[in-house]
C-alpha cells in the first residue's frame, strides 16, 4: 500500500478507525519513507523507530480491544527537536546539548502520547530556533523537498520538510517570529502559530519566552486543526497558558465558511520588498476568498514598520538570559580548557565551543541591549513598540475579522545565499513577526507556485487573540478553492523523492541514525 503515506492525517484516522489499516502498518510505512528519502532531505536529527512501533502496537491493541480512542490515535508524528522528550535526545540543533536525554516530557509531548500518536523522531532546526533556513543547525541543514539545493525555511525547516516529503503526516513546530509559517510557505505546506498561551510551552526549550509558541505543521488545514485540538488547551505548568477551552478549530476547518467575513489586507505587508510571483499568488488568493463570499478591506498598521527592529531587541534579550543555563555544569556538552580549569573557565570554554555563530551573535546583542544604561534605549523602547503593534492589531481587527498578507517575501532561496548577510535573512520574517509580538494567532497556507521560479509561496492569515478558529475557516476555504483550481493539492506537483534515494540507504538506516553531526 504505497500510497498510505500520501493520505491526509484525517484520512489516516478514518482508515484506522475503520480498521482498514493498523497503526503498525502506517508507522512502518513512514519509517520506510524516512529510510528512503531522509538521506537527501535530512528532516530528522533522531529517528525512534522502535519507540514509534511500540506506541503503534499499543494503540492497535487498544483499538482491537474495543477502546474508544482519540481521533488521531495511531497517526504518526514528528516533533521539532526543541521539545523535551523523555528518553529521546533533545538537542535544539545545537552541539551544546549533544547527548542530552531529557528526564521529562514537554506537556505537548505528553498530550501526543496520551492521544496515541506514535512519535517517529526529532526534527531538525536552526540552532535554538535562531534562523530562517536550518543552515544554522549544528547538524547540517534540511533540504527543501521541492529543490534539494534550497532551504526549507527555518527555524522549523525539519518539521515542514518532514510533512512536505511525506515522512510524516503531522509535525510539531515552534514559531517565535515565523518559524512555523515561513517554512510552511516555502515548502508548500500548512503551519499554524496558535494564540500565545494557546499551547503549553512547558518543555519547549525557550528561545524568547514571550514570543515562543508551538503549533501544528501539516499538509492540509483540517489536519492542522485536528493536531491543534490535541496539543492545545490550558496547562497549569505554564503560567502564561490561557485557561479556556481550545477554540473550535476543527469545526471551522470542516465548514470552511468565509461568507460575510471581512478580510483585511495589511498595507504595510504587501508590495515593495515582496517577490513579484509571491505577490501575484497572494492577490489571486484574495480573489478566491472574495469569490467564496468574503469582503476585502484595506487596513494600515503603521507600527509594523518597526516590528523587525523591536523583535531583534526583545528576542536576543530574552534569549541571552534563557540560554545562560547551558553552562556544562549539569547536562550537555562539557569542554575542559585545561585539567585544572575553574568552573567559570569550563563554562566559558563550553559555551565558546558549543554555540554556533548565530547563537553567539544574538546572545551578545541581547546582553548588550539589557545592559544598565542601555536598557531603556533598547529593551525599553522595543517594549513600547510592541505595545504600539498590539494597538495597531486592535484597531485593524475592529475593521477586519482576519488580516492577510504573503507569509514570506520570497520563495525558498539557495543554500548559502544569505548566510553572510544576517539582515537579509532576518527580513524573511518581516510579515510573520508582528503576530508574535502581539501574541495573535497566524497561519500559512500554500498560495501556489511563483511564476519566476516555480517554487511554493505562502498566504498568511492572522486573527485576533483566542480567535484561532478564524484562521482555519479562511485557510480551509482558500485551500478548497485552490485545490479545485489546481486539480489537486499543490504538493502533488512536488518532485517525487523516493526514486532519487530508494536503495541508497539500507532499511536499518532509520534505527542507526542519531543526532550525530553530518
Amino acid at each position: 500500500m504505497t500510497d498510505l503515506i500520501r493520505l491526509t492525517a484525517d484520512e489516516m484516522a478514518d482508515a484506522l478507525a475503520a480498521k482498514d489499516i493498523s497503526s503498525l502498518e502506517l508507522t512502518r510505512a513512514h519509517l520506510e519513507r524516512i529510510a528512503a528519502v531522509d538521506g537527501g532531505v535530512h528532516a530528522f536529527l533522531h529517528v525512534d523507530g522502535e519507540g514509534a512501533l511500540a506506541a503503534a502496537r499499543t494503540i492497535d491493541e487498544r483499538r482491537s480491544a474495543g477502546e474508544a480512542l482519540p481521533r488521531l490515535a495511531g497517526v504518526p508524528i514528528g516533533v521539532k527537536d526543541v521539545m523535551a522528550t523523555k528518553g529521546l535526545p533533545t538537542t535544539c540543533g545545537s552541539k551544546i546539548l549533544q547527548g542530552w536525554v531529557p528526564p521529562y516530557d514537554a506537556t505537548l509531548v505528553t498530550r501526543l502520547r496520551q492521544s496515541g500518536l506514535p512519535i517517529l523522531g526529532k526534527l531538525n532546526m536552526d540552532e535554538f530556533a535562531m534562523g530562517s533556513s536550518t543552515e544554522h543547525s549544528a547538524y547540517g541543514p534540511t533540504h527543501n523537498p521541492w529543490d534539494l539545493e534550497r532551504i526549507p525555511g527555518g527555524s522549523g525547516g525539519g518539521s515542514a520538510a518532514c510533512v512536505g516529503s511525506y515522512q510524516a503526516p503531522l509535525a510539531i513546530g515552534t514559531d517565535t517570529g515565523g518559524s512555523i509559517r515561513q517554512p510552511a510557505a516555502v515548502t508548500g505546506t500548512v503551519g499554524t502559530k496558535p494564540t500565545y498561551g494557546g499551547v503549553s510551552r512547558f518543555g519547549l526549550v525557550a528561545l524568547a519566552s514571550s514570543l515562543d509558541q508551538a503549533g501544528p505543521c501539516t499538509r492540509t488545514v483540517l489536519d492542522a486543526a485536528l493536531l491543534h485540538e490535541v496539543i492545545g488547551g490550558y496547562d497549569p505548568m505554564d503560567s502564561t497558558s490561557i485557561d479556556a477551552p481550545v477554540p473550535p478549530v476543527v469545526e471551522a476547518a470542516r465548514r470552511a465558511d468565509v461568507s460575510g467575513m471581512r478580510i483585511g489586507i495589511v498595507r504595510e505587508l504587501t508590495g515593495e520588498g515582496f517577490q513579484a510571483g509571491v505577490q501575484k499568488r497572494f492577490d489571486e488568493a484574495v480573489e478566491h476568498l472574495v469569490d467564496a463570499g468574503a469582503e476585502v478591506v484595506e487596513v494600515s498598521c503603521p507600527s509594523f514598520t518597526y516590528a523587525l527592529a523591536a523583535y531583534y531587541l526583545i528576542l536576543p534579550s530574552e534569549a541571552s538570559s534563557n540560554l545562560a543555563r547551558f553552562d556544562a555544569m549539569r547536562y550537555g556538552l562539557r569542554v575542559w580548557p585545561s585539567d585544572d580549569a575553574s568552573a567559570e573557565q569550563v563554562m566559558a570554554a563550553t559555551r565558546a565551543a558549543g554555540f554556533g555563530d548565530e547563537v553567539k551573535r544574538r546572545i551578545i546583542l541581547g546582553t548588550y541591549a539589557l545592559s544598565s544604561g542601555y536598557y531603556d534605549a533598547y529593551y525599553g523602547s522595543a517594549q513600547k513598540v510592541r505595545r504600539l503593534i498590539y494597538d495597531d492589531f486592535a484597531s485593524a481587527f475592529e475593521r477586519a475579522d482576519v488580516l492577510v498578507s504573503p507569509t514570506s517575501p520570497t520563495t525558498a532561496f539557495r543554500f548559502g545565499e544569505k548566510m553572510t548577510d544576517p539582515m537579509s535573512m532576518y527580513l524573511q520574517d518581516i510579515a510573520t513577526i508582528p503576530a508574535n509580538l502581539a501574541g495573535v494567532p497566524g497561519m500559512s497556507v500554500p498560495s501556489g507556485l511563483a511564476d519566476e521560479d516555480g517554487l511554493p509561496a505562502g498566504f498568511q492569515i492572522l486573527a485576533p487573540a483566542t480567535r484561532d478558529e478564524r484562521l482555519y475557516a479562511v485557510g480551509a476555504a482558500l485551500e478548497q478553492r485552490l485545490d479545485a483550481a489546481w486539480g489537486g493539492p499543490l504538493l502533488d506537483r512536488a518532485p517525487t523523492l523516493a526514486s532519487a534515494f530508494s536503495g541508497a540507504m539500507g532499511s536499518s538506516y532509520a534505527d542507526a541514525r542519531d543526532g550525530e553531526g553530518r
Binding site: 521539545m83 523535551a84 533533545t90 535544539c92 546539548l97 542530552w100 531529557p102 528526564p103 521529562y104 514537554a106 510551552r201 512547558f202 518543555g203 519547549l204 526549550v205 525557550a206 524568547a208 519566552s209 514571550s210 497549569p236 505548568m237 505554564d238 503560567s239 502564561t240 534579550s317 530574552e318 541571552s320 538570559s321 545562560a324 543555563r325 547551558f326 553552562d327 555544569m329 549539569r330 547536562y331 568552573a343 567559570e344 563554562m347 546582553t367 539589557l370 545592559s371 544598565s372 536598557y375 529593551y379
Partner: protein, 513 residues
C-alpha cells in the same frame, strides 16, 4: 581552622564614634517555611539527602517553566503588612542574570524595581528602653540558590578547593529579602540597633509563622552594610557589604568591627573600598571579598515566564486580619503578666528568650523559675560556646518542658536548689529529662523525719559550744550546725527544714509552719 587572612588596622570604637557617624543598611533574607518551593512542587525540608528535593523546574532543565507558589505570595504580603509596608497592587518578578554553578538557570528569579511591598518601618527597643525606628525600603520575593560545598580547601571556601559539590535542594526555596533604608543617627548604639533590628525582625516572622528564622540553619541570613561619614557631614561615605553574618551576636560584632575598620582607613587619610566582605565568626574580623564595580550588571528585565502579581484589596485585607499581635506590644503584656522588672525583661528579650519562657510558663513553670534556669546556667554555657541561648539549647536538646519539670521537682519537695542545679547539669549534659537525671544520680531530699531528727540530735551533741551560743540567741551560729547536719544527710536534706528543726530544738521556736 586557621584563617590566613591578615587582620586590618582598626581604631577603638569610642575614638571612631568621636569622629564619625555610622550609617547602616541591613539586608535580611528570610526563608519562608512553605511546604513547597517558590516555583515548583518540590519539598523544602531542611537537611534532606542532597539533591533529593529537585525537579526539572528547580534544576533549570531546558524547557522547564516556573509556576508561582500562592502561599509564598501570601507570606510575603503578611511580612510586608507586619512591617507597615504598602502592598503593591501590581508587581512582577524580574530576572537577575549572572553565572554561578549553584544557580541552575544562571539567573535568579527575583523582584527588581517592582517589589511586592515597600516603604514600611519597624520600631526596635534598645537596652535602655528607648526605641529606634528602622525605615524599611522594601521587602521583595525571590528564590534561593543551591548550596556549594567546596572540597579540599583548608577553610571550606572556594579558594584552594580541588572541587565543589552543589546541592540543589535549596534552589528555588522562597526567600523574602527585607532591605532597610540607610539607618542614621544611631551613633555609638549602631551595633546594638543592628542586632535589635534583626532580633525584632526574627520575632515578627516567627510570630507570623512564615519562617523558622533559624540563623544557625541559614533560614535567616543577614548582610550588613556599613559606611561612615564625618560628624556633621550630609553625604554618606563609601560602604562595605559584609555578607552572611549569621547570628545576632555576629551582627553586633560585625557592625562594630566595620566601624572600627572604616574609621582607621579614613583617619589615616585613605578611602574605603566598595566591596563585599566576609565575616569570620572565630576571629571576629571581616576580610575583603569581591570588589564591586560597574561590571556588576545583572541585566534585570521582567520575567516573561511568569504573569504579573495583582493581589486584590480583599486579599490584602483578609491577610491583614491574620496578623498576630505585634511582638513589642506582646512583650509589654507578657512582662506585666510575668511580673518581671524592666531589666529582667530586657535581659530575656536580648537573649531571644521571650518565646522560650512563654513556652516554659505554659508548660507549668513559674515565670521566675523559667527565667532563672534559662537566663542562668543555659545562657552562661551558650555564651561560653559563643552562640545564642536558643540554638544552644536546641543543640543540647534542652526544652521548655525540661525546665517546667525541674521546677515541679522543686516545688513538690523532691529536690532542693543545690540538687536541682546538679540535675540541670545532667540535663545540659544530655543525660535525659530532669526526673531521669535525678533518678540516675540518686538525688532526692530526705523525707524521713526520724533520720533528720537523729542527725540533728547527733550534731547538737557533738557541738555543745555552738549549741550554747545558739541557745543564747546567736542564731547565725546555727549555720555551722546546719552545714554539719546536711553533711550527715549527704546533702539530701531540705536545708530550710533542718534549720527550723535546729532552732526549735535549741530555742523553742516553732519547727514548722
Amino acid at each position: 581552622m586557621a584563617t590566613t587572612t591578615t587582620t586590618e588596622v582598626t581604631i577603638p570604637f569610642v575614638e571612631a564614634l568621636a569622629a564619625y557617624e555610622p550609617v547602616l543598611g541591613l539586608e535580611v533574607h528570610v526563608e519562608l517555611n512553605t511546604a513547597t518551593k517558590m516555583f515548583c512542587g518540590c519539598a523544602t525540608e531542611f537537611g534532606a539527602e542532597p539533591n533529593s528535593q529537585v525537579c526539572p523546574v528547580c534544576l533549570g532543565l531546558p524547557g522547564a517553566l516556573p509556576v508561582l507558589n500562592e502561599k509564598g505570595v501570601e507570606s510575603a504580603i503578611r511580612i510586608g503588612l507586619a512591617l507597615g509596608c504598602e502592598i503593591a497592587p501590581w508587581c512582577r518578578f524580574a530576572r537577575k542574570n549572572y553565572f554561578y554553578p549553584d544557580m541552575p538557570k544562571n539567573f535568579q528569579t527575583s523582584q527588581y524595581d517592582e517589589p511586592i511591598s515597600h516603604d514600611g518601618h519597624l520600631d526596635v527597643e534598645l537596652e535602655d528602653g528607648s526605641t529606634y525606628r528602622v525605615e524599611i525600603e522594601r521587602a521583595h520575593m525571590e528564590e534561593d540558590t543551591g548550596k556549594s560545598l567546596h572540597i579540599g580547601g583548608a577553610t571550606g571556601r572556594i579558594h584552594g578547593a580541588t572541587h565543589s559539590l552543589v546541592d540543589y535542594n535549596r534552589a528555588g526555596i522562597p526567600l523574602i529579602e527585607i532591605v532597610t533604608k540607610p539607618m542614621v543617627g544611631a551613633g555609638e548604639r549602631a551595633p546594638e540597633v543592628a542586632r535589635a533590628y534583626v532580633a525584632a525582625l526574627r520575632d515578627i516572622v516567627k510570630a507570623l509563622g512564615v519562617s523558622d528564622a533559624r540563623m544557625d540553619q541559614g533560614s535567616m541570613r543577614c548582610d550588613v552594610n556599613v559606611s561612615l561619614m564625618p560628624k556633621g557631614a550630609d553625604r554618606f561615605g563609601t560602604r562595605s557589604e559584609t555578607k552572611n553574618v549569621n547570628s545576632l551576636r555576629s551582627v553586633e560584632r560585625a557592625v562594630r568591627y566595620e566601624i572600627e575598620r572604616h574609621a582607621a582607613v579614613l583617619a589615616s587619610g585613605g578611602s574605603v573600598v566598595q566591596e563585599t566582605r566576609h565575616w569570620h565568626e572565630d576571629t571576629g574580623v571581616t576580610t575583603s571579598g569581591r570588589v564591586k564595580s560597574d561590571a556588576d550588571d545583572y541585566r534585570y528585565f521582567p520575567e516573561p515566564d511568569l504573569v504579573p502579581i495583582a493581589p486584590s484589596a480583599e486579599l490584602v485585607e483578609s491577610l491583614r486580619a491574620t496578623l498576630p499581635e505585634n511582638p513589642a506590644l506582646r512583650r509589654r503584656r507578657l512582662q506585666s503578666s510575668w511580673g518581671y522588672s524592666d531589666l529582667e525583661m530586657r535581659d530575656v528579650v536580648n537573649a531571644g528568650l521571650v518565646e522560650t519562657i512563654g513556652e516554659t510558663v505554659a508548660a507549668g513553670a513559674s515565670p521566675a523559675g523559667a527565667r532563672k534556669w534559662w537566663s542562668g546556667e543555659v545562657a552562661r554555657r551558650a555564651n561560653a560556646a559563643g552562640t545564642d541561648v536558643v540554638p544552644y539549647a536546641a543543640s543540647v536538646g534542652v526544652t521548655a518542658a525540661h525546665v517546667a519539670e525541674l521546677e515541679g521537682l522543686i516545688s513538690s519537695g523532691r529536690l532542693n536548689d543545690r540538687m536541682a542545679r546538679d540535675v540541670w547539669d545532667g540535663v545540659l549534659a544530655g543525660e535525659g529529662t530532669p526526673t531521669q537525671v535525678a533518678d540516675a544520680r540518686g538525688l532526692r531530699l530526705v523525707e524521713d523525719s526520724g533520720a533528720i531528727e537523729g542527725a540533728v540530735e547527733k550534731v547538737i551533741a557533738a557541738n555543745p559550744d555552738i549549741a550554747t551560743k545558739v541557745r543564747d540567741g546567736k542564731v547565725q551560729a546555727a549555720g555551722a550546725l546546719i552545714g554539719q547536719v546536711m553533711k550527715e544527710l549527704k546533702g539530701q536534706g531540705d536545708a530550710a527544714a533542718v534549720r527550723a528543726l535546729i532552732l526549735a530544738r535549741l530555742t523553742g521556736a516553732p519547727s514548722a509552719e
